[in-house]
């Protein structure tokens, strides 16, 4: 399988959130600071990749009738592992994401990829599928976080970047971020769930527009090429 194609699919043409439109609940709920977005994105990426590999490895012995039950067991297992590790080693992230880490169990991206991709493909392909789809998810989260944080509270990189004592990255969520304009001037509605809906809606709209446009362009280019070929034939 073509890795480049897979990469493009995960990030753009078959992006889990913007095109497949799955796993949107957590997307809207947690994208309030960059720290949360990056943490959630990476957690999903890790869980998705692990689950993809295991499901693909077991695809020959998983009976069709109980495949969903087995997917859920595998996913719940990995989610619990990540949840425990986060609680033990990055407690700030665990506190910030709260219930949304355990809720990855029912995140449609993971069960969706297991069902649609891993049970028909090799371990290696599934591994890359997990990485690329996870990256696609993370990118959407990051875009949403940056937008909502900036408009909502005038900040960039909350929790992740600290400039109080020189520029540094804080992995424990204590960084105050870079204040671009005073917090009082932010539209705090963007920090609320409504802001999540609005941002996600705008992003999906933009993505669909861009995809349609590039499709149209491709069609036009095809037609032009055909016409040129036909013209050439006539000339000859």
């Amino acid at each position: 399988m073509n890795r480049k194609q897979q990469f493009k699919e995960g990030l753009i043409t078959n992006n889990p959130v913007l095109v497949q439109q799955i796993g949107m609940c957590a997307t809207m709920a947690i994208t309030t600071t960059l720290f949360n977005g990056v943490g959630m994105g990476l957690s999903v990426l890790i869980i998705l990749t692990c689950c993809n590999v295991v499901v693909a490895a077991l695809r020959k012995i998983i009976p069709d009738e109980i495949r969903l039950a087995i997917f859920v067991v595998v996913i719940a297992g990995f989610v619990t592992i990540v949840d425990l590790l986060l609680q033990a080693f990055i407690p700030a992230l665990s506190a910030a994401l709260g219930v949304f880490i355990p809720l990855i169990v029912v995140n449609c991206i993971i069960i969706g990829r297991a069902e649609a991709f891993c049970q028909k493909n090799t371990v290696k392909d599934s591994f890359f599928d997990g990485i690329f789809q996870g990256l696609g998810y993370t990118c959407v989260l990051i875009i949403m976080c940056v937008f909502r944080e900036l408009v909502g509270s005038g900040r960039f990189g909350g929790g992740l970047i600290d400039i109080a004592n020189g520029f540094r990255f804080t992995l424990d969520g204590t960084g105050g971020g870079i204040q671009i304009f005073p917090e009082e001037f932010g539209m705090s509605i963007m920090n609320l769930p409504f802001g999540g809906f609005l941002t996600l809606g705008l992003l999906i709209g933009l993505m669909q527009y861009a995809l349609k446009r590039s499709e149209k362009k491709k069609k036009e280019a095809d037609r032009a090429a055909k016409e040129a070929a036909a013209l050439k034939e006539v000339e000859e």
């Binding site: 009738e65 109980i66 087995i70 067991v73 297992g77 592992i81 425990l84 080693f89 932010g186």
Partner: protein
């Protein structure tokens, strides 16, 4: 029949392996998680009622104060720290409230919450607004109430439900200590 047996067996084996792996991860992490939880609690206690010699949990009437989780007497003899879990605007809030021997609040600290970021969450934040909100609770007695209700606590802007919940929990904490006699 054979088919059902086979399906159950596959599912059983996969569940068993998953459970085994989880057991190992849990064994590796529980100590650290436990430590972090305790440390968080201890920091919250120390923030509301400093004590050099630690705290001892005491018995209280759980049926009369269902939201109260624990009452801890300071070994310095300067009061109690009451932890309680109650509902806020979005989910439950866990809070530590210090009460001195004169039944006055010595401070509150929110340990866990899921309030709206920028509104209710300010009650727990380290920002100036959050500090100012919590500072209002110091010195209050069991008659504590929001200024709307005739008391002296100014609610956080846009977060009346959170402010009210925290205020009521403070009153409950003081009453709970009073009931100890």
């Amino acid at each position: 029949m054979n088919k059902i047996l086979k399906l159950s067996l596959v599912l059983f084996v996969i569940c068993a392996v998953t459970a085994g792996i989880l057991g190992v991860v849990n064994a590796l992490t529980w100590e650290r998680i436990d430590q972090i939880t305790h440390q968080k609690e201890y920091e919250a206690y120390a923030a509301v009622l400093p004590s050099d010699s630690g705290y001892t949990a005491v018995e209280f009437d759980k049926s009369a104060f269902p939201t109260v989780d624990s009452v801890n007497q300071s070994n310095d003899g300067n009061g109690y720290v009451v932890t309680s879990t109650f509902s806020g605007a979005q989910g439950s809030i866990t809070m530590a409230c210090g009460v001195d021997t004169g039944l006055k609040c010595t401070g509150i600290s929110i340990i866990e919450h899921s309030e709206t970021s920028g509104l209710g969450a300010v009650a727990a934040s380290t920002s100036a607004a959050g500090e100012a909100f919590r500072a209002q609770f110091v010195g209050q007695d069991a008659g504590i109430a929001l200024s709307k209700a005739g008391g002296s606590i100014d609610a956080l802007a846009g977060a009346t439900i959170t402010s009210n919940a925290v205020t009521n929990a403070t009153a409950t904490s003081i009453e709970c200590v009073a009931s100890l006699g």
